[in-house]
């Protein structure tokens, strides 16, 4: 089997429009959550979110592209450009024919849906723009990445709610690991911060009205974010032969399904995915230094996740660090695991652990080292990234320091 390394990273999210700004914000424990700015916000009960600010898409795309790209596609392309530029790869010939794109996404073009539902339902118009379907389909972003970068191998989009991008990156890993593709562009994106998107989430009553405080006893729900995280997964020998800079190695992954409840998480399901990732990557539990938690800030997720970690790691659970960066960039739903992978790369490459900010009161049911409020320096050789989705679909990735 082939070894798989990451040779490029890109992002846009509420903390920054690129990786450097995002990691700086994580190091400083900066919060990207603020008051939502959108049409009809006064009709929402939840009015906070981690919106991408100051994004001027017009300068980045031509007129025809603007007509065809929903916001989640725009985010994907901005992040993909950064990741592929960093990798230094150009796709032609055999490399182009075999390399592909696997993206995670949950809602598709929600902005497009929202705007056009308004057109036909609220304004009573009977005609919509011809590109509604190609904009809202949730493979649009993956397809546009394939077109912009000439990637002609296997490409598709994975939807597993909050675990979408971890499932996507697991698929991309498998493609490279199994020798099907030398390079895969992967990650995820989401842009649900529109009236209809937030209104739908409001209905479930799991959203906080004031802050995202993962693991804190006074946590009161999740806060939604938006953006994209994109990576270049490359076969190790291919990367080494061309002298590429390696950010980290993807050592393995595991997926599991709770087969239990459509919204409530299961400790057993989460634990099976975590333990499975260690086994797949041939990593001893004691070597894991950092876990980027799913850590949504809901009562149920955080205590279930901590219990699963305690089960898998036993006494070592008390010596590893686990933080939730959702406290800063919000929950990007189908794109969240991708943005969170950046925190794992920072831990392995720079020896800096992103904090869980907004932490106010210890919760005996979350009694782990959650790196409260301030980033920390630490040497980490192995990091995990957890994602546990609604529907009981779990995906955990294991990363190792660059070889």
């Amino acid at each position: 089997m082939k070894r798989v390394v990451i040779t490029g990273a890109g992002t846009i999210n509420a903390l920054g429009h690129n990786v450097a700004d995002t990691l700086e914000a994580m190091r400083e424990g900066r919060c990207g959550i603020g008051e939502l700015q959108m049409r009809d916000v006064e009709r929402l009960a939840v009015r906070i979110g981690a919106q991408v600010q100051g994004f001027e898409a017009e300068g980045l795309f031509n007129r025809q592209q603007m007509a065809l790209y929903d916001r989640f596609t725009q985010f994907t392309l901005v992040a993909a450009r950064e990741a592929i530029a960093q990798s230094g790869l150009e796709f032609s010939g055999e490399l182009a024919a075999r390399s592909g794109v696997v993206m995670g996404n949950s809602g598709g073009g929600m902005q497009t849906l929202d705007e056009n539902y308004r057109t036909v339902y609220e304004e009573g118009k009977n005609r919509v723009h011809p590109f509604v379907v190609p904009k809202l389909m949730n493979n649009a972003a993956a397809s546009h990445v394939s077109m912009e970068f000439n990637l002609k191998g296997p490409s598709f989009t994975v939807a597993s709610a909050c675990a979408s991008s971890n499932h996507a990156m697991a698929q991309a890993f498998q493609m490279v690991h199994g020798g099907f593709a030398p390079v895969m562009i992967t990650g995820g994106a989401e842009s649900m911060l529109c009236f209809g998107g937030v209104k739908a989430w409001e209905g479930l009553r799991v959203m906080s009205k004031d802050a995202c405080r993962p693991f804190s006893a006074n946590r009161n729900g999740m806060v939604q974010g938006e953006g994209a995280g994109i990576f270049v997964f490359e076969e190790y020998e291919h990367a080494r032969a061309r002298g590429a800079d390696i950010l980290a190695e993807v050592a393995g992954f595991a997926m599991s399904s709770d087969a239990a409840d459509i919204v409530m998480p299961s400790k057993q399901g989460a634990a099976r995915a975590i333990a499975g990732a260690l086994k797949d990557a041939r990593i001893n539990a004691g070597d894991v230094g950092y876990i980027n938690a799913h850590g949504t800030g809901t009562a149920a997720n955080d205590k279930t996740e901590c219990a699963a970690v305690a089960d898998v790691f036993g006494r070592h659970a008390d010596s590893l660090m686990i933080s939730s960066t959702k406290s800063m960039h919000g929950h990007l739903i189908g794109g969240t695991g991708a943005v969170e992978l950046l925190a794992c790369i920072m831990a392995l490459k720079d020896g800096i652990i992103a904090p869980t900010i907004g932490y106010e009161e210890p919760d005996p049911e979350c009694a782990l080292d959650v790196v409260p409020n301030e980033a920390r320096e630490a040497k980490v050789d192995v990091a995990l990234s957890n994602a546990f989705a609604f529907g009981g679909l779990n995906a955990v990735l294991a990363l190792r320091k660059a070889p």
């Binding site: 007129r63 025809q64 005609r127 723009h129 590109f131």
Partner: protein, 86 residues
């Protein structure tokens, strides 16, 4: 603005050209407008004139609307405006 001027304006915008570069004799192909561009132009025309254009993107030649040149498009729209106002 006449129907002709408005149609030329819409087509010119789609082709990213100055309206003076679009003549009644131009074909959409000459102007570099692809199939998605045609559909988008039809949408803009429908919006501008508040008409419904019987255009079938699946098989444009089967449509009861001739898009072979700017001139034929203008003639088709003038006919539709007259019919749909009646």
């Amino acid at each position: 603005m006449s129907v002709q001027d408005k149609v030329i304006e819409i087509i010119a915008e789609q082709a990213v050209l100055d309206p003076s570069d679009v003549t009644p004799e131009s074909t959409l192909e000459d102007l570099g407008i692809d199939s998605l561009g045609v559909v988008e132009s039809i949408f803009a025309i429908e919006e501008a004139f508040d008409i419904s254009v019987p255009f079938n993107a699946n098989d444009p030649t089967e449509s009861d609307f001739d898009i072979s040149s700017v001139k034929s498009i203008i003639a088709g729209i003038e006919k539709l405006i007259a019919e749909q106002a009646a």
